[in-house]
Symmetry: C2
Subunit: 380 residues, 2 copies
């Protein structure tokens, strides 16, 4: 982590907006140092080991620098090292850009280095396990598993024995930072169980898998939260086709992620359109939204950068009634006003004041009795 920050600082000294290809060339060295040192350490403990860069494994990615997606993972080198009894120590977060090696007859060149962007290290681990047809991918990290909610906010938070891919995705994308959604998605595609456990102490960890028995237990599995939420409301929007596209296309083009979108029912042909972005994107988003709002004849734009959100997540929640109602009541009883609501099949999210997020987490954790141990169903 520190190394990467140091390298980024160096890059910014050399160029105000460093070319992405060169950033990848630069940042890939961080993991290369780590794997070499790790392999040496294992060897010094008498464990035969071999470090492998993304290129040496044969992790081929799309040629999009700083946020490349993995296309394929070769098995030949990994299998050779495993067969030789060596522990392969593979660089995460990096690969080779497909189609960038320029090679003439009899000449060998290596393709350009890519990095995988956010969640790239976990994603590499899952991709390797999938390529090798492993039974399970174990990720050892600085937390010892997935909790019903953030233990720093709710001391009664309980570690989950297991969780489904879908639930983990909702928890992850809603602010539980343990596993990146991208790695979980890849696990889901390959039906590869992922164990998240502590690298610092012996403890069972949490298994993310597809075989969670969902009928026998509390359908709310966890409470996610996020205090980095800003809201933009475009008021008095003419209710005609193409308006939403006009507003959101410029944001997408400039790489601003829009999260929750809510459009109120139209009143006399006018409607209010509200959406959320991360706080850091608020000013930039307003720059693009305000001219569009004027252009389409909207009444105006209002921004609020002080929000947060809280979500209850659980597979099959929507098939059982009353969860939303119980959530709204719990928030009401805790004196928390709901600004926006958004739902998925396995999640209910409320946008609330940022300063009330911690209270909301505790109220919901209690309301759904998440501190109670679950029954222990036979695993599928």
């Amino acid at each position: 982590g520190d190394t990467t920050d140091d390298l980024i600082e160096l890059a910014n000294k050399c160029h105000s907006n460093p070319p992405k290809r060169e950033m990848d060339q630069l940042l890939a060295t961080g993991e290369q140092v780590s794997i070499a040192l790790m392999a040496m350490t294992l060897e010094s403990m008498g464990v035969p080991a071999v470090s492998l860069t993304g290129g040496q494994v044969g992790i081929i990615t799309e040629p999009s620098h700083t946020r490349a997606k993995i296309k394929s993972v070769a098995r030949a080198r990994l299998e050779k090292e495993l067969a030789a009894g060596k522990v392969p120590v593979v660089a995460g977060f990096q690969g080779l850009a497909d189609g960038t090696a320029i090679t003439a007859e009899g000449e060998t060149c290596v393709a350009d280095t890519t990095t995988l962007g956010r969640g790239g290290s976990d994603t590499t681990a899952v991709a390797l396990a999938a390529a090798l047809g492993a039974d399970e991918c174990e990720i050892y990290t600085d937390v010892d598993g997935i909790y019903t909610t953030d233990p720093r906010i709710e001391p009664n938070a309980r570690k989950l024995r297991d969780i489904s891919y879908e639930e983990m995705l909702e928890l992850a994308s809603q602010g539980a930072r343990v596993m990146h959604p991208r790695a979980v998605e890849l696990g889901e595609v390959y039906r590869l169980p992922i164990l998240v456990a502590s690298s610092f102490r012996e403890a069972p960890g949490t298994l993310i898998h597809g075989g969670v028995s969902m009928e026998q237990r509390n359908k709310v599995r966890g409470i996610a939260h996020d205090t980095d939420v800003a809201k933009i409301t475009v008021r008095g929007v003419p209710d005609r086709p193409g308006i939403a596209a006009a507003i959101f296309e410029p944001l997408a083009e400039h790489g601003i992620s829009v999260d929750t979108i809510v459009q109120n029912a139209s009143l006399e042909g006018l409607t209010d359109l509200t959406f959320t972005v991360s706080r850091g994107d608020l000013a930039k988003a307003m720059e693009f939204v305000e001219p569009v709002a004027r252009e389409i004849g909207a009444a105006g734009c209002v921004a609020d950068g002080t929000l947060g959100k809280v979500s209850v997540v659980g597979t099959g929640m929507q098939s059982a009634p009353g969860y939303a109602a119980r959530m709204f009541r719990a928030l009401f009883e805790a004196g928390i006003n709901i600004e926006m609501i958004s739902t998925s099949e396995i999640r209910i999210t409320c946008i609330i004041k940022g300063e009330q997020v911690a209270d909301a987490v505790r109220a919901l954790h209690k309301a759904f009795q998440l501190e109670r141990a679950e029954e222990e169903p036979a695993q599928a």
Copy 2:
């Protein structure tokens, strides 16, 4: 330089004797960081640039880690980037180990990283220039050229306008540290002129090439010196075949470089065998030599770790008489005793007391009038 030292320190914390393959994996990152930052800097100045690792260029080496020799350099990628108007910034000192990429059908893997060892960066530059069929390889460094001797010892030392490969090799291997012999040898093989000049100031530099007109000028071109010389004498050695091999084979096996070797004329079937090693290797060398000396019935071993050497170098020196005599007289007149003498076609070396090396350099520089500007012959 600092980065490499830091990385070596890290490696030594992980393993008392780090595996060489992993050292290469680790140390190659230093240049990878440099090339990315250099390319960014050029881009920020409006100069299109692209960084290329040894692997991305296609520098294939023998698979001997930490001291690999270059086997071939591919042209395809370099030519593509040059054709696109980009400045390729290539990582020196590194390549891909031939034959180490394990690739199955449809899979792409990258070979193991090697480093080239001592002189590897200069050698990479010359190899690239040779592969591209360049007219000249220009090396910008922290000195502004090749001098008749070390200017820190003899203030009258004069920068040479040009020097032949052979002379440079003798100067380099005899202690002039500007260009590594390996790079000069490669230049000689490909008849590629190498310009050594300062990266800090505008000055003509020195051209190392084959076309030096040797008849028109002072045949002594420079004085080399080295203060890191230790001597071992094996006394009373039986004068029969196989003795030298018995003494030097164990040294070679343990990586101890032997420099000058002198064997005195045999007297009553017994002879003295004297050779030099670097001071740091003296204790280790004695460990191997002493048992051999006992075994072959020699009278004993004597070591002296306080020596140095001084050499006069110049093409065609042996074809003209009197150079050796002039050297010995100059040393005699300066009160310097000669312990050993060794010669090549273009060099005369005297082993002397280490503390007298600086005096010897000044005396020889004066005796051969090296402070005088050479005539300026038309270059070949």
